[in-house]
Symmetry: C2
Subunit: 241 residues, 2 copies
């Protein structure tokens, strides 16, 4: 075997796109190619790494994806001045979220009521006057302690099957995922003060600062559901990038 490439070669000495990507990233991170500087073109890199241009291209495309470099035809590739700080995290089903923390999961339906959509909801979800909605309040427990309070509104015009479904054992999220698996979602994170009922359910004090996730799900132009997920005090949503 002729070539001997330290740090990333198979038995034939061939570098994979991963090796190439890692090598380029290394040079960016260690300052060989500082922010703003130009990276050699694909042809030259292919030559240097003894790979096909397509292989270098794939490595580069991933580096673009991850925000390290910018590319322009004819102008070439440069290391980004300020990296694009992008967070990417998964929104697991609440059951999985709790179980992944090593706690046992329990679900409870607190309240379930079909009604005509109140004005604030109609305005928020852009519903026609008189639209029927299902209002559900549920609790999710981890190791028996309150973990998340779910306050959900389901548009019965969009999913009429929901009217007769029994949510006392299956959580509305699990059910909805079956009904409308792929949909557009708008999600937002904020802080809110516990009102007396929330404090009671979450076993904290009224006025406590709580972390809240709100999600609005749309399918084929129609809002399917709006949910407010309020976490127990001190909850943190953490990720690395």
């Amino acid at each position: 075997m002729p070539s001997n490439r330290a740090g990333g070669s198979d038995s034939v000495g061939r570098m994979t796109y991963r090796d190439i990507k890692a090598d380029i990233l290394e040079r960016i991170l260690n300052g060989t190619w500082p922010p703003g500087s130009a990276v050699p073109n694909e042809q030259d890199l292919a030559l240097e790494y003894g790979a096909a241009r397509a292989t270098v291209n794939r490595a580069m495309r991933e580096l673009v994806d991850e925000g390290y470099v910018e590319r322009k035809r004819k102008a070439g590739t440069r290391v980004r001045m300020a990296p694009v700080r992008q967070v990417r995290f998964e929104i697991p089903l609440i059951r999985k979220e709790i179980e992944e923390r090593g706690a046992s999961y329990r679900y409870a339906l607190i309240r379930s009521e079909a009604m005509s959509a109140p004005d604030w909801l109609r305005a928020r979800l852009n519903l026609k006057p008189g639209t029927e909605v299902l209002h559900l309040v549920c609790m999710h427990f981890g190791d028996g302690r309150p973990y998340q309070l779910e306050d959900r509104w389901i548009n019965l015009a969009a999913t009429p099957q929901g009217r007769d479904f029994d949510f006392s054992t299956v959580g509305p999220n699990d059910w909805l995922v079956q009904q409308v698996p792929y949909s557009d979602v708008e999600i937002s994170f904020s802080a809110t003060s516990a009102d007396p009922e929330q404090a009671m359910l979450l076993n904290c004090h009224a006025g406590d600062a709580l972390f809240r996730v709100e999600r609005q799900t749309t399918w084929q132009g129609q809002v399917v559901t709006y949910v407010s997920l309020i976490y127990r005090p001190d909850h943190r949503m953490t990720t690395r990038y």
Copy 2:
């Protein structure tokens, strides 16, 4: 002009990987291939679309990336039962964040003090006893109103240049991005109650629920900085997916 791209093919009738991806996604969304079902293998799809297998492969890889399908060698490709709900959003520099809301940006340094790291910070950042840190408190204003309170600790052992830098006009984040452009970041979102000083600075009431982002930045195994970013009341961080 020969090519007519409407609908997904060029003049030769050749489909790009984007076309193929869109077509497959369409079939997933409209229920042709429901959750859990198997998608034809690459070879067959290549045949169907009149494309090379590599082209189909690229389309598929992106669908995996976006959480629509799962692939396993030998077993083939299936539509995911529950889509991987993943949020991906960018963390802009605060100046840009404010300006993108159409507001004017203003920065003010409230306090700056070099000191030996307090115990809680030492524990949190895993610093040696006696490590010197710079503690900065800054405000970011949008249209003259408080927008974000930045409470930052900089490890002077990692970035000694910070000791003599004047942060009264340049925000610490802008400065740090220059110093350590690429680093590992742990970010977390939570809610916190305004203490009296925070309330005063953010022009709200003590006890108000505030949205907080905490960020810890590591470079080459050493914690460079820890920052707590507290937003004015009612702040929401929103994204779509």
